[in-house]
Structures are given as structure tokens and as C-alpha cells.
Point group: C2
Chain length 352, copies 2
């Protein structure tokens, strides 16, 4: 946190603040509340580059007319195990929670369902939507076209790809769910933005400049681009995920992706998809959960490399952060707090 104090706020207070802000921008109360819950949940689980941190940007886009505050989200095409939603340029959280809901509903019958969307917007952290099917003893997967291109094809310098993240959530028995939420780049761009705000320096290997030299100052992020995991493999994943989450849904991908950091007005036509798998269609749910626990224990029990003191499972830190923030409140770094106070003042609503 680079020496700056951060305070902690209750999740309900954070939600109420986000609702106030959205309502002041003309978002209907129900929608404001739904988005606020998901944004606050993002902060609760430690996905702090995708929670209330994004609120000023969302407001800027709403005020510029770049988001439809009275959308009619609709099912454009559908079959037993799939659907494509037209998000009608709504806040992405509204579109993708609807998508996850529909995927769960369809998977309950078909066993598996895949619901995509176009004309959506930035929807927060990928894990939000992958985790939604968990409560129904389903496995969730989520993939999105990122909301700005920061990645060139392998060997190139034109930024035609985003970090196109994937999240997968799998329930366990005794342990927290296994939740993988990863960008196809070594670092997510949200992390770069958070580090810039905190005045931190990035490790080498996260970004390079157009000559191929390491770029470590996150404030200079605009001069370079992110590096994909595994070199050409991460490029391949970002490309495939973009085709599936973007092109297949009739959403933007490649040069059509609007940099929502730089442009608040142009319709983004963001694409994402959610898959739900009904575990009961495959096997006995309790047996499956016990088997996941067994795999968890195997990983935890591995002997360690010199210098490592713990084996972590994906989702373990999320669960710990969620428990800690539920008990102690959600940390709001000082610089973010100031931004949110300024936002409150500009909209004439009560501060957080």
C-alpha cells in the first residue's frame, strides 16, 4: 500500500454507497442494487482491481452515454444447452448475472449449458460468474474479452488482444471451492492499474515496450504491452478465448475492442460466456466433493521446493480474504478513498 493508510468499510456500507452513486446517475434502484452487490463482493473476495475501484470509470461512461441505464436484456437465440444474450449495452454485471442464471437453469435439465452475450460491458472479476453455479452444486466456467487490448499476437507489437481471462469454480467438501481466476497474461491489467495507483514497481516479465525491453513502471503502462503466459501458448489462449467469448457471440474482438480506459462513449459490445455443469449429471455429488477434497489434500501434502513453505490451491486465498474482509471490513486504500469522496461530491451523494 506504499505507506498510505487504508481504512476498512462494511460490505453493506460499500453496497449502499455504490447504490447511491448509481442512482444519482440514473440507474434504476433494483439494477443499482444488483450491480452494487457484485462490485462489493469483488472487493470482499480481494479482487480489488475489479471492485469499487472501477466505480469512477463506470460513472464516467454512464455520464458520457456509453452505457444504457435502462436496458432490455434479451435472449437472442437459444437451444436446450445454450443461449446468446443481447445485453443492450447494460452494465456488464447485469448481463452476466443473467447469463449465469440462465446457464444454471438450462444445465439443471441438459446437464451442461453455455450462455454467451454480446453488447455487454465490463462485469468485474471473472470469478464472480464462475462462482455463481456453485450454490446449485454445479461447476462454473467464465471467459471474457477484456475491456481493452494490452497484448499483441506473439512476435507482434500491435495490441490486438486483451488479457481475455478465464475463471473456473469447482466445489469441494470440507475445503473452500477451488476457484481459478486468471488472465492469459503474466499479470492482469487491473493489477498494473492498482500498482500505478499505489506507486509500486512491476517485476520484470509483466510488460515489455515496443522494442522488446522490460517495462517496470506501471505509470508507463500505456507505452508497452503485457506478456502472455508461456509465450505463444498464452497468445493462443487469448486468441481462442476471444473468438469464443467475442466473435462467436457477435461481440467485439481484435481491433474492434474499445479501450474503455480511454474512451467512455463508444459502445464497447463486450462479449463473455458462462458455462454451468450439473455435477449430478456426471456422478454422485457427495462422492465428487470427497474426491476434490482428496485432490486438495494431495496437493497440500506435497514435499516442497527449497524456498517454498506452503502449497496453495486456487481459490484458497480468495476464501481467506473473504473471511478476513467479512470479519474486519473491506480495505479501501487512501488514494481510492479520496477518489470515491470526489465522486460522491460531484454527484452530491453521501460519502462512503
Amino acid at each position: 500500500m506504499s505507506g498510505m493508510a487504508s481504512r476498512r468499510v462494511e460490505k453493506s456500507d460499500l453496497e449502499a454507497f455504490i447504490v447511491r452513486v448509481f442512482q444519482a446517475c440514473g440507474v434504476p434502484e433494483d439494477d443499482a442494487f444488483e450491480v452494487a452487490q457484485l462490485m462489493a463482493e469483488a472487493d470482499l473476495i480481494g479482487a480489488d482491481a475489479h471492485g469499487v475501484f472501477r466505480l469512477p470509470q463506470y460513472v464516467k461512461r454512464i455520464e458520457a452515454g456509453g452505457i444504457n441505464t435502462h436496458p432490455a436484456i434479451s435472449v437472442e437465440s437459444e437451444r436446450a444447452a445454450m443461449a446468446v444474450l443481447d445485453g443492450d449495452n447494460a452494465l456488464g454485471h447485469l448481463v452476466m448475472s443473467r447469463a449465469a442464471e440462465l446457464a444454471v437453469e438450462k444445465a439443471a435439465t441438459s446437464g451442461v449449458a453455455w450462455v454467451g452475450a454480446h453488447h455487454s460491458n465490463h462485469a468485474g472479476p471473472a470469478s464472480l460468474y464462475a462462482r455463481m453455479p456453485l450454490s446449485q452444486d454445479m461447476i462454473g466456467l467464465y471467459v471474457a474479452v477484456g475491456s481493452a487490448n494490452h497484448l499483441p499476437p506473439w512476435g507482434g507489437i500491435d495490441m490486438l488482444l486483451s488479457t481475455n481471462p478465464i475463471a473456473v469454480a469447482i466445489p469441494s467438501g470440507q475445503n473452500s471451492p477451488i476457484v481459478l481466476d486468471m488472465a492469459t497474461t503474466v499479470a492482469a491489467y487491473g493489477k498494473v492499474k492498482t500498482m500505478a495507483q499505489r506507486g509500486e514497481t512491476m517485476p520484470e516479465g509483466w510488460m515489455i515496450d515496443a522494442m522488446g525491453n522490460p517495462l517496470t513502471d506501471p505509470k508507463r503502462a500505456g507505452e508497452g504491452f503485457l506478456l502472455p503466459i508461456g509465450g505463444p501458448k498464452g497468445y493462443g489462449l487469448a486468441l481462442i478465448f476471444g473468438l469464443l467469448a467475442g466473435t462467436l457471440n457477435g461481440a467485439a474482438f481484435g481491433k474492434n475492442v474499445v479501450d474503455f480506459n480511454a474512451d467512455s462513449k463508444t459502445v464497447t459490445n463486450t462479449g463473455h460466456f458462462v458455462i454451468a455443469l450439473d455435477i449430478a449429471a456426471f456422478t454422485d455429488v457427495e462422492t465428487f466433493k470427497r474426491d476434490v477434497d482428496d485432490i486438495w489434500a494431495q496437493m497440500k501434502g506435497s514435499a516442497k521446493l527449497p524456498g517454498f513453505f506452503e502449497i496453495r490451491l486456487p481459490g484458497e486465498r480468495l476464501a481467506k480474504t473473504m473471511a478476513e474482509n467479512s470479519a474486519n471490513g473491506i480495505p479501501i486504500p487512501a488514494e481510492l478513498g479520496t477518489q470515491l469522496d470526489d465522486l460522491a461530491a460531484s454527484l452530491d451523494v453521501a460519502r462512503l
Copy 2:
């Protein structure tokens, strides 16, 4: 090829040879022919670590009783958009071509289908099964639990994970299909085996030993383990893919995975799954293909980093290799040729 001559053979001759070998081991003619076609196709597309290279190992396993040559592959559970197959310990190619067929059939109605299998075996390169839905204007995805553990959890040294590969195939219009086929490790273990056979040295970053030091001699591969792409991210992907392809299907994952390089007798209970997406359920097929062509052109057209002379699309090299090998024959390196001759002699069948 480390100075050793390689000769080229016709695909049909390679198939006929593989059929002879399998029939000599008691595999019924139809099954032998189906597997031979897929194995020869693996070589045709340049997946030479997963083609006829594996034949001696398959024969060893059949002779040891580790593969059922008269299997009754059956649908164990099914809903509109999914099924789980019991592979009855058949050759994996038979199980997974059946899985892909069923996924395509179900997706034609449901739009999307996910078919998993347990009690299967090594089935060759992942791309074989991801590419099967292409002929029906569908997108294919395939994930497998690898047939030996070469990867510890991140920070660990117990080899509890395999390279658990993923393949995705997406049709284009004017270009070859986009086909990503990648291990979740920096290098696939099959490549390590091929390099060992060719006497080559691995680059640093592919494997480390139990002290964390680089391991570059592929003949010493047994002393170390593969490194995941993106460090903890590749570990996370391997874990998630293992849970989905293995655990969810009731197949082996974690410490239950049998190292089929070292043990030819124990039933492997290999798990995999195939997903088919019917493009027509999402959008107009020709529009989609044109859009994929447009993305292809965008990537190709990117300005390049110093030192790069071409941007490649996943699947481009596959298509070129397939065209070259179709025209000129499939290369068989001298050392492999000798192994196959020995195999032919031991089974008293005509040489390749």
C-alpha cells in the same frame, strides 16, 4: 533429427502397418483400422510425439494385459447436452472418437454438448478430437488427464499432475482452421521423449530437478519435472483440467494416475472430455467464418517485434505440415524406423 536420416512413408502404408501390428496383438480389424487412421493422422499433422512413435508402447501394454482389446464402450450416464462414457479400458482412440461423435450428435440438437470418459487410455494428440467437430461446422474442445504425472503443484516436488493438455479447433473461411493444441507445461512430455530419442538438448525453462535447478538433458527427464506455463497459472490450469477431465468423469487424477511409460499392466483409467459447439446455434456460420478470417488477417498484419519475421496463427503449422506430409509422405526418423522394424519382427508381420 541430430544427423540421422529419416525416410518418408505414405499415410496409407503407415496405416496398413499399424493395422498389421494391432491385428497381430489381437485387436479386431475394424478397431485396428480406426486407431491406425487416427495414429497416422497424428503423424500427418506433425504431432509426431503422439503418432506411430507410441505404437511399441501400446503393443507392450496390450501384451501385458493392460488394454482391453475387446471392449464394450458404453454410455454410462447422459442428458441432452452431456454424457459420460465407460471406455472399458479400450485403446483411447476408440473411446474418444466415440465421445467426439456423440458430442457432435448431441450438439446438433442442444447447441452445445460435453462428453467425458473414464477407463479410457492414451488417445494421441489432443487436436485429433478437437478437430473432429469441424466437418460439421462445429467448434471442438478437448481436455485430457495426461498419461503420466510430470508436474508437481506450484512450489512442490511431488509429481501429482500431468501436463493435462487442451485443444480447441475453430473453423475459418479462407484460411486453415485455428487449432490450438497445448500442454499446460512449457513443453509437453512427448516432446521431451522425442528429443531424448533424437539425442537433442532441451532449452532451460522446460524442466527443473528436485532442487530447483535447470534440467536440460532429456534422457535425465526421470530425475526432474516439467515447469507449468505462467508458474502458478499453469499449475492452476493443470489442476482444473484434471478435475474436469479426470475426477468429474470418475477417472484417475493425482496420485492415482498410472505412469504408462513405466507400467504397462495396471489399468490407467484415463479421463478426457470433448465439447462440441454448433456454430449455427449462435450465429450465421458463414458470417462467423468471415469474422474468423478477419481476425486471422488482423493478427498476420501486426507490426513485428525486432527479431520476428512472421506472426503465426495456432493451427497454421499443422495445416502446412499436413499438406507437406500428404504430398511427400510422413517422415519416419531412423531410430523410430529401427524400433518399428524390431516391433514388426517380434510380431512376425511385414515391415513398414
